[in-house]
């Protein structure tokens, strides 16, 4: 039965790819799971493959890609689910593509980035060797619900995990740290100097996840990520196992992603020399600080899909002079655009000389910026025209920074490269 599903899955993938239909990364898994709901369990039953799950609001794709590069540098064969295909069907599809017709997986590692809502379901289907939890920020409340709801569902699922699983947790995020109590856990995190002195006023987790008392922050890197301690029950930033690394990407948040990937790689037995070699040669995932060149002008795309992501993107590109912001409100972006009012445009937008806004919700974004600064902005609903305008405002030596939401990022890439990704 499963052999048939694998065969069918491979056929569908090939078929949809050759016709450029897209969705090849979820269909096969979708069909397999519909026919056999234990499909993932069955396939993995007799396999020695080691599984790494990566979850969190921001940084899943980048961390997965970093870890993949490191493991491949170590001559290991790695399976990855495609970015965005991070529900059960995406994981099943990745397995189908990498299983031979005898139902055997000939790979060493599987890295699966996992959607926040799906993580508890995935943990029912498979037991990871390593579970990396990056962070929890407010994101697409219409789809994910509230941060605390997700955290309590994660806690229930994680408490049931067997001893085999090593947890790799962000020591700087209180909600994440609380999940690691009484488990085999390693912590990555920052403990360097910080410029911020207090949590941003919309920060999600400034209250203790255990006793609800207010948290005291000694250092804050962004949002609620920092060195913290609870005034009530004493829960605090744990001893950090890894806090220094070379980071191939810009931004504090990417340093955390890199720390997570490196700590996972170390846990899986890769030596430091190989890790550093892989990091030096790293190419970013699409849309994550990806660089494109058009007419001699450099364009960098920074996927920015929630307040924390947007703030950190704006901070990282603040040396740039020309930006294009693109806001869509389709299902993958979240249909509620209220979050743009939680982005700290007041302090960042003044650093730019040319600002163009576009996307399905162009005017919402324009309205937000009107209230943030008296700076002139250009409003262009048509994305292709908006990119042209923004490029015109960018001189040869400058870089144009594009900050799009998820579906806007795919559209932007499609326009820039002429290629369809999903």
């Amino acid at each position: 039965m499963n052999i048939l599903l694998i065969f069918l899955g491979k056929f569908i993938t090939k078929f949809s790819r050759s016709l450029n239909l897209g969705h090849g990364s979820t269909w096969p898994g979708h069909i397999a799971l519909n026919s056999n709901k234990n499909f993932i369990k069955d396939i993995l039953k007799n396999s020695k493959i080691k599984i790494i799950l990566i979850a969190g609001t921001n940084g899943k794709t980048t961390t997965s890609k970093l870890l993949q590069s490191i493991l491949e540098e170590d001559q290991k064969k790695v399976i990855l689910n495609e970015s965005g295909a991070n529900l059960l069907n995406g994981i099943a599809s990745a397995l189908i593509l990498n299983t031979n017709i005898f139902g055997k997986i000939k790979k060493d590692f599987a890295i699966f980035e996992t959607d926040e809502n799906t993580l508890p379901q995935v943990l029912k289907e498979l037991t990871p060797d390593v579970l990396v939890l990056l962070n929890l920020f407010r994101d697409q409340l219409d789809r994910y619900g509230e941060v605390n709801t997700i955290a309590s569902k994660w806690k229930l699922a994680i408490d049931k995990l067997p001893k085999k699983t090593t947890l790799i947790l962000n020591a700087n995020d209180p909600t994440i740290v609380y999940l690691g109590k009484e488990k085999k856990t390693l912590y990555f995190g920052l403990n360097e100097k910080s410029n911020l002195t207090h949590a941003q006023d919309w920060a999600d987790s400034v209250f203790c996840p255990r006793c609800n008392s207010k948290l005291e922050f000694e250092k804050i890197y962004f949002s609620h990520i920092g060195i913290w301690q609870c005034q009530g029950c004493g829960l605090k930033t744990p001893d950090i196992d890894l806090k220094e690394t070379y980071s191939p990407l810009l931004g504090t948040y990417n340093k955390l992603n890199t720390l997570a990937a490196v700590l996972a790689a170390k846990t899986l037995g890769v030596n430091l020399a190989l890790i550093n070699k892989a990091l030096k040669n790293f190419n970013p995932a699409f849309g994550r600080q990806e660089e494109v060149k058009i007419d001699g002008k450099k364009i960098k795309i920074y996927l920015s899909k929630n307040p924390t992501g947007f703030n950190e993107s704006l901070r990282t590109v603040s040396s740039g002079k020309s930006i294009l912001l693109v806001l869509n409100d389709r299902i993958p972006d979240g249909t509620d655009v209220s979050w743009i009012w939680d982005v700290d445009f007041e302090n960042s937008i003044k650093n730019f000389n040319s600002i163009v806004v576009s996307g399905d919700r162009t005017y919402d974004l324009a309205l937000r910026l009107r209230y943030a600064s008296s700076k002139k902005i250009e409003v262009e609903k048509d994305l292709q025209k908006a990119i042209k305008k923004a490029l015109k405002n960018t001189s040869e030596k400058q870089t144009l920074y594009i900050l799009p939401t998820y579906s806007a990022m795919l559209e932007t890439r499609k326009i820039l490269t002429g290629k369809k990704i999903l």
Binding site: L141, N148, D201, F207, Y363, D364
Partner: protein, 245 residues
């Protein structure tokens, strides 16, 4: 002229871009030369600060945070009640709106007592019943109001309170009776996120006018502001919903 705006629990009751409402109130005053002070009324803030306010705002929150707030709010409920009864204008969104009602009944029949200032109650049918999520438009005294709603609780109004408007598209208070929000004296409750004020500048200006008229005890005419971007942003959503504005 000067207004003191009180933001109740900015750290705890601030989800879904609630901060946008404060930004809009402040800027629309400043653009007209009205001085503004925003007082952050967090847990343990002195009651004197609350008393100083000419206009109040409180937003929604996650369940865990609402529990922390409810303990602190009990200490301030007497003052808050007398301010609302005395026509101090205010805007209360989602969780805050529910708080002002008589009670909030969870799916397991647990009843959480509210402040009982608004004649309404809220029932949450539980996780197995769909939340009311999506773009929403209502007809009101301030024209068509446009926003986004996302709530599990269903609110039912009593006899002594009026709705903010009639639902044109979306769910409103409970998805059944076509009412949305509530008006009691100069206080407004609503489920509208979006946030509510940026795309509904008439309502924002009305709150400012009410606050100034009460404080200075005279008729106030606010100078007009160009709302063309607001209008474009409203049109995009209204068109999608098939609502005239």
């Amino acid at each position: 002229m000067k207004l003191t705006i009180g933001w109740l629990y900015p750290q705890l009751m601030s989800t879904y871009g609630d901060k946008g409402n404060i930004i809009v109130l402040k800027k629309r005053c400043e653009w007209r030369g009205i001085e503004v002070e925003v007082l952050n009324l967090d847990v343990d803030s002195p009651i004197e600060n609350l008393k100083k306010c000419d206009l109040l705002f409180m937003g929604g929150a996650q369940d865990r945070q609402q529990k922390i707030v409810s303990t602190d709010l009990k200490k301030k409920s007497k003052i808050l009640r007398s301010m609302i009864e005395n026509n101090v204008p205010g805007l209360y969104i989602c969780g805050a709106y529910q708080f002002l009602g008589k009670y909030y009944k969870e799916a397991n029949e647990t009843v959480i007592k509210g402040l009982g200032i608004f004649d309404l109650y809220t029932q949450n049918p539980g996780e197995n019943v769909k939340r009311l999520i999506g773009n929403v438009a209502i007809e009101s005294d301030f024209g068509t109001l446009i926003g986004f709603e996302n709530h599990g609780g269903r609110t039912y109004l009593g006899k002594n309170i009026n709705p903010l408007g009639k639902v044109l598209k979306g769910f409103g208070n409970n998805g059944k009776d076509k009412t949305e929000g509530a008006i009691y004296k100069n206080s407004f409750g609503s489920y509208f996120h979006g946030p509510i004020l940026p795309k509904n500048p008439k309502l924002a200006d009305y709150l400012i006018k009410l606050a100034l008229e009460k404080k200075y005890d005279k008729k106030i005419n606010l100078s007009p502001i160009n709302n063309s971007i607001e209008q474009r942003a409203r049109e995009v959503i209204a068109k999608r919903m098939g609502v005239a504005i």
